[in-house]
């Protein structure tokens, strides 16, 4: 199948946040014989990255666009995955959640949506997650990355949040196996804050989070 025209049409649908059109394009392509694998890796992922780059260039990038593009990418991936000829190989594992005292859910949902097409397995631990649970779940699931979404200043900087996750990882000798990434509004206001709270990286949005998480998965010592 000729994928470049489809990539262009799918990118437009993402840019316009038109979920129905995006799903229809993928369904039509499947009907015409396209393989689910090539649709994910040659259409969905490049379109997701192109969409965010285009939006950044025209200064139109905003929270709603992030939310909707990640949602569309997740929905399309969900529809395509069962059609894979061979079960897709997992690139890496991540546990994600909002830290102690933080009840916000939107940020981690955007990140989960962006990770889905990348074949990065992601366990959502929910909100108000203790540092101990972050580490235990990461260890039990042999995850390479703990992703923490902190939307408030006091939860971002709390000694019960990322700082404590770092302490526990150090105490248990897990720092080479499990990397920590953090995101959320306070980090956009202070791009040095992730270092102060002991994270290995941070990301201002879902697409950047995928890039940073992919890098951290490569850096972590395999289980």
């Amino acid at each position: 199948m000729n994928l470049p025209p489809l990539l262009s049409l799918f990118s437009e649908a993402l840019f316009d946040t038109d979920r129905d059109r995006a799903l229809q394009l993928v369904r039509d392509a499947i009907h015409q014989g396209a393989a689910a694998e090539e649709l994910i890796f040659e259409v969905v992922i490049p379109a997701l990255e192109k969409c965010v780059t285009d939006l950044e260039e025209c200064e139109e990038l905003n929270l709603a666009q992030h939310f909707l593009t990640s949602q569309i990418a997740a929905d399309v991936t969900e529809e395509l995955l069962p059609r894979f000829r061979v079960a897709p190989e997992t690139v890496g594992r991540v546990v994600i959640g909002s830290p102690h005292g933080d009840l916000h859910t939107l940020g981690k949902r955007i990140v989960v949506g962006c990770l889905r097409p990348r074949m990065i397995e992601c366990a959502d631990l929910g909100v108000n997650v203790s540092a101990e649970r972050f580490v235990e779940e990461a260890e039990n699931r042999r995850a390479s990355v703990i992703a923490i979404s902190a939307m408030m200043v006091h939860t971002a900087r709390s000694e019960k949040g990322c700082l404590k996750v770092r302490d526990i990882l150090r105490e248990r000798g897990l720092e080479d196996r499990i990397k920590v990434i953090i995101g959320g509004a306070p980090f956009r206001f202070d791009d040095q804050l992730h270092q102060r709270v002991g994270a290995d990286g941070w990301a201002p949005d879902g697409i950047q989070a995928v890039k940073a998480i992919s890098r951290l998965i490569r850096e972590a010592r395999p289980w």
């Binding site: 979920r19 905003n62 709603a64 939310f67 005292g101 933080d102 916000h104 408030m152 206001f189 202070d190």
Partner: protein
């Protein structure tokens, strides 16, 4: 002695007094002033009023607040649990709307002023009016119709409904939130609040695309302000940038004050408003936690130098995090008083 109210009035009018108005939005810090835990502090309006007055006297800024915490609005509409932290603002823990079926059941209080959740706020307002009314502006915080659902169902579910959900449920919820908004703003105005901060992240193109703003956000903003009137209202994007929408909002609503986000370009904002309304520029108060006093002084100078020419200018903060050290608060205010001085001439 020039009062904060005189400074604010002069800024709205484009006149010069001793200096520009300086707003420092200290909320949770009040508990520390009274040596109380946040939950104890916010349980009594008298305490909030006392701390607001004390903090204004201590630091010398120009405003006080009758806002307790943002989640208070959810309590009016049925929220039964607020999560109090030791070191940060309280959060809504019990969502009022958990499914679309809850929307028709949402009850808007007939009389907001008589609602038990408003009782302590009214006490606070009454003390503030008695003690400093007319001298220092009393600020109230009112969430716009389009942003209020995020407090009732969480931001994620509201984004789902707003962008992907059934139009009927979305419009019904917005209509009810609008009804509440008008009653709440009216209640604050009647109780003596001078500055009504109209908080609407969905009125910023950092949150929604410009097309959505024009087609969906703006009509609800117009509806809110037409029903409640623009007197005393200040447009605020909840720390998000508002420069791209300020001209449109001004032309369509007549709102006379714009509280920009820390990432709005101040000079550009002044040019957009072109002397038609008050430009309120804000410092990045999350960075205030770790900046040195010298860095703070430099940042304040930069903001004020960009905003001062032409007058109609206010320097302010967003919601100051508890972690900001007291010397940093003082450094910011001292710099604002110094660089915002108008001694020796009219700003225009």
């Amino acid at each position: 002695m020039v009062t904060g109210m005189q400074r604010l009035s002069a800024a709205f009018d484009g006149a010069a007094v001793d200096r520009i108005p300086v707003f420092c939005n200290l909320l949770d810090q009040g508990a520390g002033e009274l040596n109380l835990r946040l939950e104890e502090y916010y349980s009594h309006g008298e305490r909030v009023a006392e701390a607001q007055i004390r903090m204004r006297e201590k630091y010398g800024h120009d405003n006080v607040w009758c806002l307790f915490y943002v989640g208070k609005e959810a309590e009016f509409l049925g929220c039964r649990k607020i999560l109090f932290a030791e070191n940060g603002p309280p959060n809504v823990e019990d969502w009022v709307i958990n499914s679309l079926e809850d929307i028709p059941r949402l009850e808007i209080p007939e009389d907001v002023s008589a609602h038990p959740a408003f009782e302590e706020t009214l006490k606070c307002l009454s003390i503030l009016r008695r003690e400093i009314g007319g001298k220092y502006p009393i600020c109230a915080y009112i969430t716009a119709s389009m942003a209020l659902p995020a407090l009732l169902m969480g931001m994620e579910r509201w984004m789902d409904l707003l962008f992907l959900g059934p139009a009927g449920a979305r419009e019904e919820l917005l209509s009810r939130c609008h009804e509440f908004f008008v009653k709440e703003l009216t209640a604050y105005r009647e109780a003596g609040a001078d500055v009504l901060i109209y908080s609407n992240p969905f009125g910023s193109t950092d949150i929604v695309p410009m097309g959505f703003f024009q087609e969906c956000s703006l009509p609800w903003i117009e509806k809110d302000i037409r029903a409640a009137g623009p007197a005393g209202v200040v447009y605020y994007g909840g720390t998000a940038r508002i420069n791209p929408v300020m001209a449109t909002v001004f032309e369509r609503t007549g709102i006379k004050g714009y509280y920009m986000g820390p990432f709005d370009r101040v000079r550009e904002g002044k040019e957009i408003l072109a002397g038609r309304a008050l430009a309120c520029a804000t410092i990045n108060d999350i960075a205030l936690i770790d900046w040195s006093p010298e860095e703070i002084r430099m940042q304040v100078r930069k903001i004020i130098q960009a905003g001062l020419p032409g007058g109609k200018f206010l320097f302010g903060t967003c919601v100051m995090p508890l972690d900001i050290p007291e010397p940093n608060i003082r450094a910011m205010l001292e710099a604002a008083f110094e660089f915002g001085s108008l001694e020796g001439g009219n700003p225009s």
